[in-house]
Symmetry: C3
């Protein structure tokens, strides 16, 4: 991963306008759709069991986020994940609050069998999903991203995909190599759905680049850099959100290429 | 339709504060409610089957938007549409993504039997609902509004109501006369729910004016003009949305009367 | 209740970051979560029946808002309320549109048996829940808060908790003493979810202070004062919402201590 990969990823997203099928929690659907639109992707939120498989088959990528999952949407998620795999479409799993709650932990564990291209969560969630303990208070993480590095690498090897851990410094690994993405702003944690929207942007970038690792890193870098721009403009967490969407839109390839990446093999 | 009709429509909306019962998708409920409040109407989002019929009977107008429909909300929509018709209350159908997905296409086709006062969609959706092909990628349209003009006119004659097609230039027809509404901003397509909120404003204006054609045109003009104001103030799609709500609120009858309308009989 | 109580309440909220489990309507989940985050609390929106009881038991407080309730979420609300009571966790009931609709009125009446620490609604809703008539148009109230004073006091004595009535001047009573909270801005009624977010902030403050009366008053004062700041900065209802979130964040104990309170015993 270098600056050219990031520049190419940004160009690919703009050129392809990937359609991201989001089965996500109802708290963050709006900001997720707006973040995708701002970055240059197209959102669609189809979560009826009757429709999820058909739509996943025509989408560029699928996001499954279990934040407010219940029986109907769980069934839609199963069908969407299966359909995505059958169609060769990449899908991303965001295991919100997994570890603390039995129902969604069992669902996320079951969905892992469909081998998501990327799992994106915080340290507690990734550790819990990897079976390495953890478990936070709802959407909070009680640990930094690096605490989850071994669990993330193990989980990535198990799924054959990529695992991304959000924190003050984000971590993206495929089980062999690891990139840390610095920067960002604490205001991202004061805006509901910024992390969930990041999951959707990962899906968009994976579709655009055709590469789970490059896509995950590019999405994290995009979100972090836009957050820095927005934090300079905002007067607080309320004005941060619209400024962040503006910055997601405005950020070009040369700006993305200046992301703070550190790679370790 | 002339400037005086628009001025009178704006005054009627402010004078009557129509209560719009919205059965709409979960992605856009917030901006739909805020757009109605900003324009001077009152929103209510009641989508339990146990309550939908009772509420539709006391509302000023009903909006049915199938964006994230599933079995429970489909049943609520059926009951609300039936109840609206029985009460003589106008109702608006927004056939989001109809054409591309079987389940909602069958539902929207079934709901047409309750003869909506207005059908509002993009070209692909209107063509699909009219049985004239079409079918986009989720909420995107792959065609301009004029491509749907014959299908829209045919559909309007079939329902006995009005059909509105959103595009760069919007088109409103009752099957005999057609008004095109120009203006607006491309930022409307970069903000999730702007089109869905337009559907709710159509319902509000139809209730306020007592006329489906006048109401549909006034709502389209209101949205387009507010978008122009907001586009001048915004730094991107994030700051556009709050500026658009401000402009929906501020727009008065004299401003609405300056809308770019072109009528053809 | 005096200035020192308010200063202490603000400090307690910041020091404890209470986790508020919100079972609330889908229209307002985003602004509710953002208002909690802005004020210094932590939101979680878990509304599956399979998870609601477990999560209520670990949360600092629970909010039940029946705005878009249906069969599944009603069952989750029952389980969450029961679990909160069993765990000694305070819970808040927001009876949105109760009185006008049979289904939710029966549910809210049933939930009263679990003795919410606070009931927060407008005058129509509180009067309807107390069995004193009332009944508005959806979320609107057709009466000022003082019209509900006798019903609120009677309801508070019945539940053994606190009842808060929102209006131009808000009213908080435990059946013996009553505090009226002045200030605020009419723009709060032009922003969907401001009242619902207030219910969540009541839950947060009750958890932080360990006192239902103090917590309810502090939350109402916090919302009103932040609204005054935001109204000065906003150009309309659209820019009001982000400015209000900024102000919820910025408001400190000394500012809260200047709230317009009038106490009557």
């Amino acid at each position: 991963m270098d600056a050219d990969d990031l520049r190419a990823a940004r160009a690919a997203l703009r050129a392809t306008t990937p359609l991201v099928h989001c089965l996500t929690n109802t708290v963050v659907q709006t900001i997720t759709a707006n973040a995708l639109l701002a970055a240059g992707a197209a959102p669609a939120m189809v979560d009826a069991p009757e429709e999820a498989a058909d739509f996943a088959a025509v989408a560029s990528a699928v996001l499954v986020n279990v934040g407010t999952v219940h029986a109907r949407t769980a069934e839609a998620m199963r069908r969407a994940a299966r359909s995505a795999v059958a169609a060769g479409t990449p899908w991303v799993l965001d295991p919100v609050a997994v570890g603390g709650l039995v129902y969604r932990t069992e669902l996320a564990t079951e969905l892992l069998e469909h081998r998501p291209a990327v799992v994106r969560g915080n340290a507690s969630e990734v550790m819990a999903l990897a079976g390495a303990g953890g478990g936070g208070r709802g959407v909070d993480s009680t640990a930094g991203a690096d605490a989850a590095a071994p669990a993330a690498a193990e989980l990535a090897r198990r799924t054959g995909g990529v695992v991304a851990v959000s924190g003050e410094v984000d971590l993206v690994t495929d089980g062999r190599r690891t990139v840390r993405v610095g920067g960002g702003s604490a205001l991202l944690t004061r805006t509901t759905g910024a992390g969930c929207a990041l999951g959707a942007l990962v899906a968009a970038y994976v579709a655009a680049t055709g590469n789970a690792f490059t896509g995950a890193v590019a999405a994290h870098a995009h979100v972090a850099l836009a957050a820095e721009v927005a934090a300079d403009l905002a007067d607080g967490p309320g004005t941060f959100a619209p400024a962040w969407l503006d910055a997601l839109d405005a950020l070009d390839g040369d700006s993305l290429a200046r992301a703070d990446l550190r790679e370790h093999r």
